[in-house]
């Protein structure tokens, strides 16, 4: 298993958002986590990235226990995260944002998102909301790593570009990368997920794998 959460709990100050949540994700797989606003998707992503401290449980990554590691140590071991907000360095140019990942070239991503390749000298702050999401996504995908943790990459992005994102994630998974996809966009989830976890206010309310994944159930998870 690439990633394994064993009964993790965590949240903010004294309010726990997650209690005893477990999940597993193998190399080359996409696990989608869906749920309405405020059900704890971002919180879970931040617990995995190490931005928030765990209140209980353990996290294993690539066969090692990373429960006590800082976020930068997790990043160095190959956990690449794209946060939901502030997913780029606003004060830096596109080129500087990409240079920090250590990647030499954009490759396929440059062809799929030509706007990024054309705007190398633009400051990220001056880009549109959708463009910033795409830049954050490109940053994550060119970063060397084994696990992608993407928090709502499709939010505010037009359909055509979401399709490009789907293709890029597929390509990364074909190369052995695992992907934890936090989403509310059912189309994107259907196109990618090998397994789905649904969250509601009391925790995990839905789990499905492969053929069992049904649009009906996912829509039910996302509506009241």
């Amino acid at each position: 298993m690439m990633l394994r959460l064993d009964g993790i709990s965590g949240g903010y100050h004294d309010t726990l958002v997650h209690r005893g949540l477990s999940l597993e994700l193998g190399a080359g797989e996409v696990l989608a986590v869906i749920g309405r606003n405020g059900t704890g998707k971002t919180t879970l992503a931040r617990l995995i990235a190490g931005e928030l401290p765990l209140a209980g449980g353990s996290i294993r990554f690539g066969g090692q226990d990373i429960t006590r590691l800082s976020s930068w140590d997790r990043a160095r071991r190959g956990i690449v995260s794209m946060p939901q907000t502030d997913m780029v360095f606003d004060g830096l140019t596109v080129a500087e944002n990409l240079a920090l990942t250590g990647a030499k070239s954009l490759g396929e991503l440059g062809k799929r998102f030509p706007r990024i390749a054309q705007r190398m000298r633009q400051t990220a702050q001056t880009m549109s909301g959708g463009e910033r999401k795409i830049l954050g996504f490109v940053r994550a995908l060119v970063s060397p790593g084994k696990l992608l943790v993407l928090d709502e990459p499709s939010e505010g992005v037009q359909t055509e570009n979401i399709d490009h994102m789907v293709a890029c994630i597929r390509q990364a998974c074909a190369d052995g990368t695992a992907c934890l996809l936090f989403e509310q966009n059912i189309r994107m989830v259907e196109a990618l997920a090998h397994a789905v976890i649904g969250l509601d206010s009391s925790g995990v309310c839905y789990r499905a794998e492969g053929q069992e994944i049904s649009r009906q159930d996912m829509l039910a998870t996302l509506s009241l």
């Binding site: 800082s70 976020s71 930068w72 500087e96």
Partner: protein
């Protein structure tokens, strides 16, 4: 004509000395968002490197490594034990570093006493420029400051390390998620700022003299320069020291030394009141 040249040289000297003094404070504020009230005490500690070298019977030039070592170690200790708990808490960090400044002053007083000490010029002699003869040491310091700032600016804007520093300041959590150890970064930034403060004390000691209470003046003047220029950027620091140093030198030449100090004080108050962001604002 010679009179004008002398005024210009004096202004250049004032500006260079101020830039040197304020750089450490600006770095700590710009990168860590805390106002280091102990900044002046690090200037003072750096100046005492001359005294340490003298007491150990070492040649004057060894004051440089002594300064870097002593100030660096003290700064590292203070950062790890105290300051790191106060990042992103502006007011608490102000109080904590203020308390540290008193402690440092007391300890230095305990070791070396209150006496004011003179430090001889490392480079004696005057340089003839047109009809003006000007102290060679000051010219050297002016040159070092100009070259140093140019290199620093280029490095900060163009190198990958510069990009990483700006990334941490811009978005610390994404920087951590990109594998940057922000805790070590903060320690390095604090120590660098303090060592630069110490170096300014070392270089300026032949003009300022050395005494335990010399830090206050250094802190206030650095702070004024930062307020006028705009807290937290290299460009703002450049503008701030130019305006404050220029005004002080100009008024001192035209009226008196006291008028120079008063002018700077009025300027700083005006800025704090009417334009707290300073002259240089980031896009």
């Amino acid at each position: 004509m010679d009179q004008l040249l002398l005024i210009l040289l004096n202004a250049a000297w004032q500006i260079a000395a101020l830039a040197l003094l304020a750089l450490g404070l600006a770095i700590v504020f710009g990168l860590l968002r805390i106002l280091n009230m102990a900044h002046g005490e690090f200037v003072m500690l750096g100046a005492y490197a001359h005294v340490i070298a003298g007491q150990l019977g070492l040649p004057p030039l060894t004051a440089l490594p002594i300064c870097i070592l002593v100030v660096g170690l003290v700064a590292l200790l203070i950062e790890r034990v105290v300051v790191r708990h106060f990042y992103s808490r502006m007011f608490d960090s102000l109080l904590a570093t203020w308390a540290l400044s008193i402690l440092m002053r007391e300890i230095v007083e305990m070791i070396w006493g209150r006496a004011y000490r003179n430090v001889p010029m490392p480079v004696e002699g005057l340089v003839q420029l047109g009809g003006v003869s000007y102290p060679g040491y000051r010219l050297i310091v002016i040159f070092l400051v100009i070259a140093g700032f140019a290199c620093l600016w280029l490095w900060y804007r163009k190198s990958l390390t510069g990009v990483r520093i700006r990334a941490v300041v811009n978005n610390p959590s994404l920087a951590r998620a990109s594998g940057i150890n922000t805790s070590r970064f903060s320690a390095a930034a604090f120590v660098t700022g303090c060592v630069l403060a110490g170096l300014s004390g070392l270089l300026l000691a032949p003009m300022l003299g050395v005494e335990p209470s010399m830090g206050l003046d250094a802190l206030i003047r650095s702070f004024f320069a930062l307020v006028v220029g705009g807290l937290g950027t290299l460009e703002g620091l450049g503008i701030g020291v130019a305006v404050v140093g220029g005004v002080q030198a100009g008024l001192s030449a035209a009226l008196s030394q006291t008028a120079g100090y008063l002018g700077v004080l009025v300027l700083a108050i005006l800025f704090l009141w009417r334009r707290p962001d300073g002259l240089y604002r980031r896009r």
